[in-house]
Symmetry: C3
Subunit: 100 residues, 3 copies
């Protein structure tokens, strides 16, 4: 089975900023993404009322360089001002060549 | 803590074919699955209008042999004709013996 | 990029017990969580009618000690009586220090 090692980047963010994040990850080289609606409570000092409620969970499969660029973009532009969660993990992908 | 190393197989597919995929993964030995509604845009050459919109995200915890069989089935029967994403990762599962 | 290795704990449980599980994982030290609605069929001997339908998928990013405590709590209090799925994986998290 031809599987390619890629990075799965997961981002959980408030719905109001998720469209902008999707545009930015595509500009950075992500070729596809999946979005699911989510609720959650964050781990920052923010009041629950600011953060609980409608979030979007964005997932994208990318190569390592693009994953680094996405995380850096989030750390620089979103983490200072928004309740965003972002993490990366290794996955093996069917027909993975089309994602990089 | 008794944890068993298993494969988590994630499949994102158009809603119209997700029921068929679920039947096939059960026939191949998956004993359980989780489905969540998702939206997304794929990484194939397809037009956005063919692919954006309602997808299903199917997840199943299986042993290595069953994960290989599922990915092979998808690569053979679905990837040529449908916008499907499929990837596998290692997870450690509580009471994992019941899944294999 | 400053990434912290953390445990991503995923729990899929019937909706009726998900609020209680969320309270317990917070008491055990989880500082945030994400919930998505899911459907599924379990791998236990239960009849489909007992288990199919509305589930909640709870995810939380925690350090190793908290992940062990959560899994132990689930194994002791929930697995004997409910159709619960729980697994853990390694992820690398942006600004991960705030979760532990």
């Amino acid at each position: 089975m031809d599987l390619k090692l890629l990075k799965l980047v997961t981002i959980v963010a408030e719905a109001v900023i998720s469209d902008k994040i999707v545009r930015e990850i595509k500009e950075l080289g992500a070729t596809g993404y999946t979005i699911t609606a989510a609720e959650g409570q964050g781990s920052r000092g923010v009041r629950a009322s600011e953060w609980e409620g409608k979030n979007m969970r964005i997932e994208t499969l990318v190569g390592e360089a693009v994953s680094e660029a996405i995380l850096q973009m989030l750390a620089t532009h979103y983490f200072p001002n928004y309740a965003v969660v972002a993490y990366v993990e290794d996955v093996r992908v069917v027909r993975g060549d089309k994602y990089v």
